[in-house]
């Protein structure tokens, strides 16, 4: 890995000194702090005078503080962080003429893309870790509940999945920055992809499922289940759905499935069993393992694609 360390260090210091990063970090830190604080205050009020179970701690991340919960915030805006760190990774250097200078030094070509990806992933991890830790501290202060090992383990798993999820969008952005010459085009294209896969895929899945089961009577239980199945199967194309599913049982130990209410058995719905007897972490993990694996695969595929394209690109066009 000749040259990797040098490029990695330079990329990191570039990120740290860029206004883009500072603004982004300030924004994310502010939103997550306010959300967690409001959620914590609400919970503290609601649970006043009662014994708080240790699972309450995780609710800091899932309860809506100011209209949305922290987990939802990361689901929606985490990808933006990845896109912003990667959309000009390669084409900016190409446009400024520094890429061919870099490559004419005695380094392997893949060191450039590996180092850029790693540096951005490091930034993402640092940012997320900082936010999770600050909220943990804030939670202890506001709620007076100390997270146990189980809760900490869940947060670690949540952290890892989130980094993979954001890194997926980072890989997409880097791929576009290799394919497209203009920085503005790659920025817009990555935004467009993000919007399409995050929002339109689930709307599309719904429309397809509805049209496929259109001739069944509306109260036919078989048709309802079929519709929900089709919708779920298609929604898996959306990283946002994947991520939501993957983290669902992780941050909420009382959740035992990622399936929608329709597919949950009748007795289970009625029995309130959902809220009693939280799952241990390994069981929670098992439930969402397919989602996690699929998310990791998507990220690896996206990065591999940008790696291959970059390695094969003619230098003349650089």
């Amino acid at each position: 890995m000749k040259g990797f360390v040098a490029i990695y260090r330079k990329e990191l210091s570039d990120h740290f000194s860029s206004y883009r990063f500072l603004i982004l970090f300030a924004l994310i830190a502010m939103v997550s702090l306010i959300t967690a604080y409001l959620a914590g205050m609400n919970m503290a009020k609601a649970l006043e005078g009662r014994v708080k179970p240790s699972t309450v701690f995780l609710s800091l991340f899932t309860a809506a503080g100011a209209g949305f919960s922290l987990v939802q915030f990361v689901t929606f805006f985490g990808p933006l962080l990845g896109l912003l760190l990667g959309f000009d990774a390669i084409n900016r250097e190409r446009n400024e003429g520094t890429l061919s200078k870099l490559l004419s030094q005695p380094i392997y070509r893949d060191a450039v893309i590996n180092a850029k990806f790693s540096a951005a992933v490091t930034m993402i991890a640092l940012m997320l870790a900082a936010i999770i830790l600050v909220i943990t501290g804030l939670g202890m202060l506001v709620l007076g509940v100390v997270p146990d090992a189980e809760a900490m383990g869940r947060l670690v798993v949540y952290f890892v999945i989130s980094v993979v999820y954001i890194a997926l969008w980072l890989a997409v952005a880097i791929l576009l920055s290799i394919l497209m010459r203009s920085v503005a085009t790659s920025a817009l294209a990555s935004l467009a992809l993000w919007i399409f896969f995050s929002f339109f895929v689930s709307i599309g899945a719904n429309a397809v499922a509805n049209s496929l089961t259109a001739d069944a009577p509306p109260d036919d239980p078989a048709a309802i289940v079929k519709r929900a199945r089709i919708e779920n199967a298609l929604s898996v194309l959306s990283p946002m759905v994947l991520y939501t599913n993957a983290t669902a049982t992780i941050v909420d130990p009382t959740r035992k499935t990622t399936r929608s209410v329709i597919q949950v058995g009748m007795m289970e719905q009625l029995s309130m069993a959902r809220y009693s007897g939280p799952l241990p972490l390994d069981q929670s993990l098992l439930v969402v393992l397919p989602n996690i694996v699929f998310l990791i695969c998507l990220t690896v595929i996206c990065f591999a694609a940008s790696y291959l394209v970059f390695m094969r690109q003619e230098i003349r066009s650089l």
């Binding site: 400024e96 520094t98 890429l99 200078k101 004419s104 030094q105 005695p106 380094i107 003349r316």
Partner: protein, 250 residues
């Protein structure tokens, strides 16, 4: 002067999307010389240099740099060639000294050696005073000199200088030419110099190659080309006359 070939290209060919950029090129550069690489824009000079650097793979033919195939030993070849590209880019937010330090780090130089070489290179090109200013504030000439300094800290055996005097004022041009001459003499560096300023080439190059539409139409010492093309023995001639002669024939 050592007369050992340091770069040898045999039937070197590069085809881009059906367009032949370099067409069966035979070229030899000898160790320690300043070789003038001439030709109109788009003649394929830069592509040839990129193939010699191992940044582009040839479609056909072979090239050897110090006996090595750049496509198979890219790191060794790139470590011993300093390349000043045309319109070289810089990281604007770094200072001149930081830019050099980055290049040194990429070349795997130890910090202490790197610092010495950076100081040396800054002094050699005469931008020590501006070394700690950001590159974005540099004038065209200063950037060009920083580019040369980036070549120098590698202490390369070969330097490819693509239009090193483009956009410089006459005085800076002269200083650049003197600098190149001096470097070649003191560091025993082989220089491949590509330029459109033929009188500069004539001043410092021992041998030249003329490339037109992907083909090398002439190669050799300037006097020899003059004798062959212009048929002059001792009449004064300029490289420009020779060049135009070749150019009109194609």
């Amino acid at each position: 002067m050592a007369q050992e070939p340091i770069i040898e290209a045999v039937q070197l060919t590069k085809v881009y999307n059906g367009h032949t950029a370099v067409d069966h090129l035979d070229l030899t550069v000898y160790g320690g010389e300043i070789f003038g690489f001439l030709g109109p824009n788009g003649a394929g000079k830069t592509t040839t240099l990129l193939m010699m650097l191992g940044l582009t793979e040839p479609t056909g033919g072979t090239v050897r740099v110090m006996g090595l195939d750049p496509a198979r030993h890219p790191l060794e070849v790139k470590a011993s060639i300093g390349y000043l590209q045309e319109n070289m880019g810089f990281y604007r937010d770094l200072t001149g000294r930081q830019s050099l330090a980055y290049i040194a780090e990429l070349n795997g130089l130890e910090r202490k050696i790197a610092q010495e070489r950076i100081q040396e290179a800054l002094e050699a090109v005469g931008i020590t005073a501006a070394a700690d200013k950001k590159v974005v504030t540099y004038s065209r000439g200063m950037r060009q000199r920083l580019g040369i300094a980036e070549v120098l800290i590698k202490k390369p055996r070969i330097a490819f200088l693509d239009e090193p005097t483009l956009g410089l004022d006459p005085e800076a041009t002269n200083r650049m030419i003197e600098l190149i001459k001096d470097l070649c003499r003191r560091h025993e560096m082989t220089v491949v110099l590509s330029s459109h300023f033929l009188n500069q080439i004539q001043k410092i190059c021992q041998r030249v190659g003329i490339m037109i539409e992907g083909k090398l139409v002439a190669q050799g010492p300037i006097e020899q080309l003059a004798r062959e093309k212009l048929g002059v023995g001792d009449r004064t001639y300029t490289l420009e006359e020779i060049y135009m002669q070749y150019f009109q024939e194609h």
